[in-house]
Symmetry: C2
Subunit: 243 residues, 2 copies
């Protein structure tokens, strides 16, 4: 795959005009690609010397396990996302990452990332932007859990994933293919699987959004946005800020 077609390149190019040097560094990041099967634990909470990955194809999720065995999914990762960027900088990883589908990802070494930063502060800034955007999403998930009801949470989450997929050329305003199960949704939204079922039925019956057979269909995109309090600004999609 040409580096120009990498979803990460596509995402970073939304923020900075990438130079030849930047593309060379990004190519180095993509050197070692591997395939992982669904359910494979790619990063383990609490373990040292973790590597980071760049997701090229497929979906993953990052999560934490609680003392009582409960699981809270922190975020879902789609093509173009880093997996475990924090794990590289931290002594031990503060979360686990699991493959949701079969996926393809490049292994990125800490040394390559630090060297790349040294060669291109502009690329470092773009990656800091991508990391900041990930943080902005976690912040929105926090607001979801703290202050939105179950239907609003679900609507907000399905809209966010749609917007993220659109940025890397997957999905559109009509909807997108989504491999997440009701168990994943429950662990993202702090609900039980039974509750997720009821919430999805309510949203469908209200003519807002339908999630069936691995496909999310926005039945009324504008009304769902309003209902969920979804404001796309936090995803910062308005194009390159640094030229």
């Amino acid at each position: 795959m040409s580096i120009l077609k990498s979803p990460l390149t596509r995402k970073l190019a939304a923020f900075v005009a990438l130079s030849e040097t930047d593309l060379d560094i990004l190519s180095r990041f993509h050197r070692s690609k591997k395939t992982f099967l669904p359910g494979h634990e790619m990063i383990t909470e609490g373990q040292a010397k973790q590597t980071a990955f760049i997701l090229a194809e497929g979906w993953a999720c990052s999560y934490k396990i609680l003392a009582d065995g409960g699981r809270q999914i922190v975020d879902v990762q789609i093509p173009g996302d880093f997996l475990g960027l924090r794990s590289v900088l931290f002594r031990t990883s503060d979360h686990s990452v699991e493959a949701v589908t079969r996926l393809e990802a490049s292994v990125v070494l800490a040394a390559d990332i630090l060297d790349g930063f040294g060669q291109s502060p502009r690329l470092a800034t773009a990656i800091l932007w991508a990391a900041s955007r990930d943080e902005a999403m976690v912040v929105e998930h926090l607001v979801n859990l703290g202050r939105r009801n179950a239907e609003e949470r679900m609507g907000h989450f399905l809209l966010e994933i749609g917007a993220r997929l659109k940025l890397v050329g997957l999905g559109d305003k009509l909807g997108y293919d989504c491999p997440l199960t009701q168990y994943h949704l429950a662990d993202v939204l702090g609900l039980t699987a039974v509750h997720v079922n009821r919430v999805l039925r309510n949203l469908r019956e209200d003519g807002l959004v339908t999630f069936q057979k691995g496909r999310v269909t926005f039945d009324d995109f504008e009304r769902l946005k309003e209902f969920s309090g979804f404001d796309i600004d936090y995803l910062d999609h308005d194009g390159p800020l640094l030229h």
Copy 2:
């Protein structure tokens, strides 16, 4: 104030051995210090061209306002923390920041940050580490809201603030001075102020922690840690990883 005594320097020095160049760059970040009164809105959600700040003295909190007027506090900032680092990289700020106490902060320009990154990739990495640590805290707050009960949330939050203060030389295992009101705690933990009151009473009566008259006292630090599921690893306090 000597740059060596700045809480940010102290925090970054926990991660990397700072060179003379790094200290020069950090001095430049601290050039323009200002005082802000309690309640002053330092960063406004949705506004463009925001500056970032480095907090030298006092407390702040970052939050989002919901459509229904409710407020979710995303994080509390203490000396050594950046305020609005994301605001500098993003077109508009995705959150607001308010002074909790009277505070002193240095205004940091985006250009200074980007120049600094160019001159010292090592410092850029240290700042990326600090940003990652902030994200790890937001992740823990998310787990708090999604999967912990009100007493566990409160215990976890009070322990986290204690650990963060200790890193910059404020507070110890016995406790710390805390200017947050019950309204702040309610907006952090997704509770009502009345509920916060009851939760604090329960924790005090169980002999775990007392929060009274602006002072948090750990009555039984070890038992509170166990009760709240607090694992300090996510704060990555084990000393310099990059030498």
